[in-house]
């Protein structure tokens, strides 16, 4: 019960918070925001990590976990880097030229 009750509380509050966090977003930021949020959704890497750690000597589980971790990190690392690249383009370049 305890984990569950906690889980539902954070689920409810997290969702409400997510709904409120972004209000007006200027169109220029739609793509970067999408890709940044996408990188964050790669947080499943924690689940993959936990899985590997708890797998003990169960080889299939280890493999599944590692593959899952790879996918998740691909998402996270790629997502953050590509977002940064985009945002670098938007940042005021009046200093250049």
């Amino acid at each position: 019960m305890s984990f569950l009750s906690e889980a539902f509380w954070v689920l409810l509050l997290g969702s409400l918070l997510g709904l409120e966090l972004i209000g007006k977003v200027p169109p220029t930021l739609h793509t970067p925001l999408m890709s940044g949020a996408n990188a964050i959704s790669g947080i499943t890497m924690l689940a993959a990590l936990t899985l590997i750690i708890k797998a003990g000597t169960n080889l299939p589980l280890l493999v599944l976990g590692a593959v899952s971790l790879g996918f998740a990190l691909f998402n996270v690392v790629g997502g953050f880097l590509v977002t940064d690249r985009m945002l670098a383009m938007f940042s005021r370049k009046s200093s250049r030229k």
């Binding site: 889980a7 709904l19 793509t31 947080i43 924690l46 938007f90 009046s94």
Partner: protein
């Protein structure tokens, strides 16, 4: 409560706090870049938290380290390479690719737990039930996200045409059937029968394909944003599966924020989410628009030479870039033309419509790539009052965003979308290949106006010719 527990807990709280700040900051221009870094730091923190926690309790075996490092290395390297290499204009498909992999990751975790149950639950019925439900949700949403994102990516890359039958009403029946299959396997799984697992994976994977395939390429950013929201949901479900609060909060936040972003994007494009998801590709409507081109009654076409002469005589020129400029990859040639004009004392600026092109911020990215100074990019609200004092407007492969119908014709599907009032300028040149319509598939009244002249041709080619003509007039940016 041991020290390492307290530590892990504080790290988790901090990570969530930073993630929330990050998401919030990403929605404001000034803070966006820092916010992105903040979110990245928060994620690293979360990883450190998990590792510390495990080290502090049962420890991490050598074996586990090997697999962790192997998985991370491969994922990180590939991610970094793709993120560096990909072209700026290919952003939506890149995000789709990353997103699909995130979904795949949730799917795999849930699958692993389904096959090799963790000794998490205390055997009470309610927690067993919740665990099963979360596994099912994680699998279902994860595989829809994966296949949907892959299809979105392939369509955006142009690798995947839309099969004709997929645009007919049949697809609705197929998708409903797939949905029913998934539902059946879900209910069998929840009641404890594990044979439904494979069926669920296949069913939901096909469903993801079936829903995404008919959607037109131009609506894809919205779909990707929606799938992104799903992958948040999948992460939250995975959090229930492995028992991690942090995963649940972060997943829920991203899921909810993604939903809002999807809505905001739809509003920006003047489309409803329903019509994006179920309306199918706009291709058919575009075809209608094409036939509608016969309606134009007063088209003035002019040569590149004429255009060059007018530009040379102008004092204030505004460039309106659009989707066609991006397709023609003509941004660098454009930059050369504007350099030439500037060297000749012409004041040049660029009118950036928020949804010009095919992804939000498309034009900013495009022009930034071609080294256009940031202060020459003017947003719609700023530039609109300036058109009456503008000598020449050069519309390059833009169509809907300069359609005066949006202001004048309440019956138009564009009505209400804010547009650039280019018709207020003295002279307007429209560069496009023919009379075909834009994304919305409707006629553009601008082309019929007396002060508008069409310059037909591919944007890159026309701009190249223009450069030559200007040089002949003694104007060039090189000196």
């Amino acid at each position: 409560m041991t020290f390492s527990e307290i530590l892990k807990f504080s790290i988790d709280l901090l990570a969530v706090f930073l993630l929330a700040l990050g998401i919030k900051g990403l929605s404001k221009v000034r803070s966006a870049r820092d916010a992105n870094r903040l979110a990245a730091i928060a994620m690293s923190l979360a990883v450190v938290g998990v590792l510390l926690d495990s080290l502090g309790s049962s420890g991490i075996s050598f074996n586990a380290w090997i697999w962790i490092i192997a998985g991370s290395l491969v994922g990180t390297l590939l991610g970094a390479v793709v993120a560096r290499r990909v072209a700026m204009t290919a952003m939506p498909e890149t995000v789709a690719l990353f997103n699909g992999c995130g979904g795949m990751s949730s799917l795999l975790v849930a699958l692993a737990v389904a096959i090799f149950p963790l000794s998490n639950s205390n055997g009470e019925l309610s927690s067993v039930l919740v665990e099963r439900i979360s596994i099912v949700i994680s699998v279902f949403v994860g595989s829809i996200t994966f296949t949907g994102s892959m299809v979105a990516m392939a369509k955006l890359q142009g690798w995947l045409p839309t099969p004709a039958w997929m645009q007919s009403k049949v697809r609705h029946f197929i998708n409903i059937a797939l949905g029913v299959v998934s539902l059946i396997s879900i209910s069998s799984l929840v009641s404890g029968d594990e044979r439904g697992l494979l069926l669920l994976i296949v069913g939901s994977a096909l469903l993801g394909i079936g829903v995404t395939l008919p959607i037109g390429g131009a609506d894809m950013p919205v779909v990707i944003s929606l799938l992104n929201s799903y992958s948040g949901v999948a992460a939250a479900a995975a959090g229930f599966v492995v028992g991690s609060q942090l995963l649940i909060v972060a997943g829920a936040m991203v899921g909810a924020a993604g939903l809002i972003l999807t809505q905001v994007m739809c509003n920006g494009m003047n489309r409803s989410l329903i019509s994006v998801l179920f309306g199918g590709a706009l291709g058919s409507i575009t075809a209608e628009g094409l036939s509608g081109s016969a309606e134009y009654i007063n088209i003035t076409s002019c040569s590149v030479e004429e255009c060059a002469l007018t530009l040379e005589a102008a004092e204030r020129v505004v460039i309106v870039p659009g989707y066609g400029l991006a397709v023609a990859q003509a941004q660098h040639t454009l930059r050369e033309v504007t350099r030439a004009l500037e060297a000749n004392g012409v004041e040049v600026s660029y009118a950036i419509h928020p949804v010009a092109g095919r992804m939000p911020g498309h034009m900013n990215v495009l022009l930034a790539e071609a080294d256009v100074p940031y202060d020459q990019l003017k947003e719609m609200d700023i530039v609109n009052p300036e058109f009456p004092a503008t000598d020449v407007v050069l519309v390059l492969g833009a169509n809907d965003v300069v359609n005066p119908q949006a202001k004048n014709d309440p019956s138009s599907p564009l009505y209400g979308m804010p547009v650039l009032d280019v018709q207020e300028a003295r002279t307007v040149f429209v560069v496009k290949r023919g009379m075909s319509a834009g994304y919305s598939g409707i006629k553009n009244d601008l082309f019929d106006l007396a002060n508008t002249s069409m310059v037909f041709g591919d944007a890159k080619k026309v701009l190249g010719d223009l450069l030559v003509e200007l040089k002949e007039l003694g104007i060039s940016g090189k000196n």
